[in-house]
């Protein structure tokens, strides 16, 4: 097990109980993996040049104690890609622990800290599978697409002219036989801004239409992928782990998020839109949003 490829950036929430859990988890992980570089969030903010080389060469693991997401925002300021993001409230829920409200973590808080450090160690020791060229995906990624385009405010928003089905949550499905690739629309990636992290659904997970099928995070916000179709996750786009920016650059091709084995497409179609209808819906939404800002 080695942590030399990774750097760990915890939040600095020393005034909050969940921040203290973050601190304990980071210390646990760095004790277990001495080669894991620990980045001080204060130094990152005050003297970011100190960690320039680490930000360029290493994969970053961030731990956010609360919804303020200081660690994620600090990573954005460093322009570092995030390989793993841990959010303490999520781990609290997954462990079923009840952390104490005090600044000194008690048994509940320490259990959460232990689980976070275990997740970090597990991630650092994962054997990365070779990037196998999945059948058909590379060709799919390179297809030519014709777009419907609209200029709203200063943004050009695109929707592929055919082949895609959308829900009104700005997510798409592209049906390929008995499976569908899913992803987010150009409008949603534009709203999010620079995407720094993509959370995939778990392979094997059964998802119903309009269930969450992952999430993604920019320096501005955390947004959910709301699945347009029902199905079982058969694979995820591993490329997004290292290149989340593909969601911004190419949301309809290389930015696909997951592939689902479809379970009730005909029923799901009732609440899906084809390109022209979604295009109109998207422009209405974008114009309302712009009007609301002025």
């Amino acid at each position: 097990m080695s942590g030399s490829e990774f750097a760990l950036l915890p939040c600095n929430g020393l005034d909050k109980s969940l921040g203290q859990i973050t601190r304990a988890a980071a210390l646990n992980a760095c004790t277990a993996l001495p080669e894991l570089e620990l980045l001080c969030p204060m130094v990152c903010s005050q003297d970011p040049g100190r960690y320039k080389e680490s930000a360029e060469k290493k994969k970053l693991i961030v731990i956010d104690g609360c919804g303020t997401r200081c660690a994620t925002k600090t990573a954005a300021a460093l322009q570092a890609g995030i390989a793993l993001k841990l959010y303490v409230p999520d781990v609290v829920k997954s462990t079923g622990s009840r952390p104490e409200a005090s600044l000194e973590p008690g048994p509940g808080g320490l259990k959460v800290a232990g689980e976070i450090s275990r997740l970090i160690m597990s991630h650092c020791s994962e054997k990365k599978s070779e990037k196998a060229t999945e059948a058909g995906i590379e060709d799919w990624n390179r297809r030519e697409l014709d777009f419907l385009e609209a200029m709203v405010d200063k943004f050009v928003l695109k929707v592929p002219k055919e082949g895609y089905l959308f829900n009104e949550n700005d997510c798409w499905a592209f049906v390929r036989g008995s499976t569908a690739l899913i992803g987010i629309s150009d409008y949603l990636q534009t709203r999010a801004g620079d995407i720094m992290y993509v959370g995939h659904p778990d392979p094997g997970k059964e998802i119903s239409q309009f269930d969450e099928a992952g999430d993604f995070e920019s320096s501005k916000s955390v947004l959910q992928v709301i699945s347009p179709v029902s199905g079982v996750v058969v694979r995820i786009n591993e490329a997004l782990k290292e290149h989340p920016e593909l969601l911004n650059e190419d949301p309809y091709r290389r930015g696909w998020i997951a592939e689902l084995r479809l379970t009730q497409l005909e029923e799901d179609r009732e609440l899906l839109l084809e390109s022209e209808a979604y295009f109109k819906n998207m422009i209405d939404k974008a114009q309302r949003e712009i009007a609301g800002r002025h």
Binding site: C66, T68, P89, Q209, F210, L223, Q224, I226, E270
Partner: protein
């Protein structure tokens, strides 16, 4: 027709918005800080946070619940909401 619709259904006919369990809420305001749609509003009274703008809530979005450490936010049943939307669409088509 309402200005805001979801799949052609007026937004006010879709009861999708968070409900705050005040026995769990610790008023940390993380959900309010997170939500870009101004669904919540802070109050001066005993209940320092309320769900003020229900129709601003994006149908099927539950992202604010993820920010809630005490798990005080709940949403309606998704299947029932989907069935209701389909039913209203059928009623509207039949008119």
């Amino acid at each position: 027709m309402s200005e805001s619709t979801f799949m052609g259904v007026p937004r006010e006919r879709i009861p999708w918005y968070p409900v705050i369990d005040y026995t769990k809420c610790n008023f940390c305001m993380e959900c309010d800080k997170f939500c870009p749609h101004k669904v919540f509003e802070r109050n001066e009274g005993e209940r320092k946070l309320v769900v003020k703008n229900k129709e601003n809530c994006v149908v099927f979005c539950r992202a604010c619940a993820k920010t809630c450490e005490p798990d005080a936010l709940s949403f309606p049943n998704k299947q029932e909401t989907t069935a209701l939307i389909k039913q209203i669409r059928k009623e509207e088509e039949a008119k």
